[in-house]
Subunit: 429 residues, 2 copies
């Protein structure tokens, strides 16, 4: 079948995520036949460099042989079993490894299927922690320009209008503090302290995306903010929730963003890269103090009864264990440092272009913000289409072009990603 035939069949039946379907009248909807390493390939043999890791998830390439084998082997034994009352080795191994890889206060792992569900679990658990002590703390604090997911609890703590505004009447009211990605750090901290002071005993937790507000135009900030925020949370007796769903697993240069701040959050939400772009899986790591607040005789009514049918899916856990193996055996974090430096060096030239407002980078994420294009023009779409012609797949967020490549990109693939984009920004807009 041709691309066009499949696209037509697709559009007859499918409502795609995060899409205005009318856009597909003029933009190509590309049916992918296979993935291989850094490339995805359509039904006519065109290959595209997957420069956004298929929505920030695919870190070790498509059709990764080691991961495929782990998946196939696990399926022979056990694909899935109910995770209440039962368990399995892939989940136990994964949990132990995650606990050992993260700061000492994080001791227990709760499973779910996607990032939004992980955020909901952290929010519900933070709220219930206080409820179990007899306190009703009905407020969550998040940052301006934040994004934490699409389910109603996750949307409520988000602050990206594009995804949230239309649903305001449905959502829990939350409080936003100034973001260090938008104002100076000192101002952001002062505002956070004001919010915590004004809402004393009403706030259960503060949730942040550490270092990078991804869906929020890839705005970035320094780890020093997080270190200071940790102290503020301690001072006001509220939990700190790290939503490292997008930034975890090496994306910011360290395995987890929290390492750069030298702190431990009370909740750590992980997903996306955890299965190397293979399967939906998310986890929430919590402290023993939080765990103990739910540990009691059943009839006391303090249990945390959240569940999804596929919680702790064995196939996804086996894949995640293989992902962690690859991190170790290939010394990925260490080897990424050269790639990070290369990206920094090669994107330097964007700074001199008159239509570029800013180039910012944090580890394996680099964002190039364009200027002087009205949003209705949707200049990002032009960049997307022009890059595609060159076999490079990037997905700008409005006027912000970003690179979020899989860690298996070679030096020449990194250069191609950057150079193709550079030519477009310089000559085609």
């Amino acid at each position: 079948m041709t691309n066009l035939e499949l696209a037509k069949e697709d559009l007859r039946y499918i409502f795609h995520p995060c899409s205005q379907m009318k856009d597909y009248e003029r933009l190509p909807l590309i049916p992918i036949k296979k993935g291989e390493g850094a490339y995805i390939e359509d039904f006519e043999g065109n290959r595209y460099l997957d420069c956004v890791s298929s929505w920030w998830v695919n870190i070790f390439g498509h059709s990764n042989k080691e991961i495929n084998q782990a998946l196939t082997e696990q399926a022979q034994d056990l694909a899935h079993v109910i995770f209440a009352g039962f368990s399995h080795k892939p989940a136990i191994d994964l949990s132990r490894r995650l606990v050992q890889m993260t700061p000492e206060p994080l001791q227990k792992v709760f499973f779910a299927d996607n990032g939004s569900s992980a955020v909901e679990i952290a929010l519900k658990m933070a709220f219930q922690f206080f409820k179990n002590r007899g306190e009703t703390r009905d407020l969550f604090v998040s940052l301006n320009n934040s994004y934490h997911g699409e389910t109603m609890g996750a949307l409520a703590v988000s602050d990206t209008g594009l995804y949230k505004d239309i649903y305001q009447d449905l959502l829990l009211k939350t409080v936003q503090a100034k973001s260090p990605s938008l104002v100076p750090e000192e101002e952001a901290l002062k505002d956070m302290e004001r919010v915590l002071e004004e809402n004393r005993d009403r706030v259960s937790s503060v949730i942040i995306e550490p270092l990078i507000q991804c869906a929020g135009s890839m705005k970035m900030y320094d780890p020093s903010y997080i270190t200071a925020l940790r102290s503020l949370c301690d001072k006001y007796g509220v939990f700190l929730i790290h939503d490292e769903i997008a930034v975890g697993f090496g994306r910011t240069g360290t395995m987890f963003a929290l390492e750069q701040a030298g702190i431990s959050p009370d909740f750590l939400c992980l997903s996306k890269g955890i299965t190397g772009g293979y399967l939906p899986l998310s986890v929430v790591l919590i402290t023993d103090e939080i765990y103990q607040a739910f540990y009691c005789d059943y009839n006391e009514g303090k249990s945390f009864l959240d569940s999804h049918s596929y919680t702790g899916n064995a196939l996804a856990c086996a894949v995640a264990n293989k992902v962690l193996d690859i991190f170790e055996q290939d010394r990925v974090i260490e080897k990424n440092q050269a790639k990070i430096a290369l990206i920094a060096q090669e994107t330097e030239k964007f700074r001199k272009l008159s239509n570029v407002a800013e180039v910012r980078q944090r580890g394996m994420v680099c964002a190039i913000e364009l200027k002087d294009y009205p949003s209705e023009q949707r200049v990002g779409l032009t960049v997307f289409q022009e890059a595609l012609k060159e076999g490079v797949y990037i997905r700008p967020l409005g006027n912000v072009i970003y690179f979020m490549p899989p860690y298996i990109f070679t030096e020449s693939q990194l250069r191609k990603m950057i150079d193709v984009t550079y030519t477009i920004v310089k000559e085609k807009l």
Copy 2:
């Protein structure tokens, strides 16, 4: 490793879903080494008949060879690709098949990862449909005793206190009408009409679990209620959302519960059995009218921008296609009728026991409600433990024992499931 060693390791790191962790001090936490057909097997070679389909998902048995092969083959080509702007054949095939299997008004498929997320999508889309027309309809109507999931939107339309009560301060206020599973059908319909009348122009949709309120103690009701509810929704201009996450894919005797009512909902949420108990995947089928309300120029701001990273996961779609193949090639729905009749016949004897309040059945679900046991006694746990000794795994909901076997159970497996339980209820409680 022994069961005990693994369980100890598990309890050191894992916080299990829908569990009071302290219960595992006296109840076994069973590590499963492998699944095979109707059985799951622990690390000491004990085998258990999986009578609840591993939380209502595993319909064609564990380590199903055909499904394993489909999974392995798909992994060779493509595990996953971003589903915005891109597509793949497994999702296209699955969507076409689902549209063709369901009533004609359901024309488009939106993907997500778990049931809760599917419910959130239906709720958001129903709300936004009216918002896109300039109307704010901030109320959702559901039934008493309903359960629709764990994320905050899904919890808000639920009415099972066990899961919801503690979070009331966080949740959107919704309206519940009387359930036909608890009061006579006529009374329930009258109450629904009252609710719709009193909240005219404020309700966007009514959401139900058709025929069986599963987490709500497996309470059941007749399809005639749904037929009448469809008319009421039309009369008041509100959408009908069928949450067939638990009951879809043959569980009630027909492929979908809606068939028994002879109607089409405006939204149909599916998950659980869709991947035969292998992988998290959910879909929401919608009418073309709904789809069109979001179809416009991007700058009009009416897009539905919901997404999860693993939306439309190719591995899960390939598995789902194989599940549909098995339904067709093995004429599963047709062959299940004899099993349904056998369950009805063999559970008849429970009715004569003095500690049984009711035996109710709808297709491949049969519930036995015990009476005269105070809830603090947790008699269900005794049933669970006694059955386990006989190699039968059942998971009572409070005082309600239920059977929800995979469709591959043989006649003798069905008899064993029932007879072991009968002896316990008659002699051990």
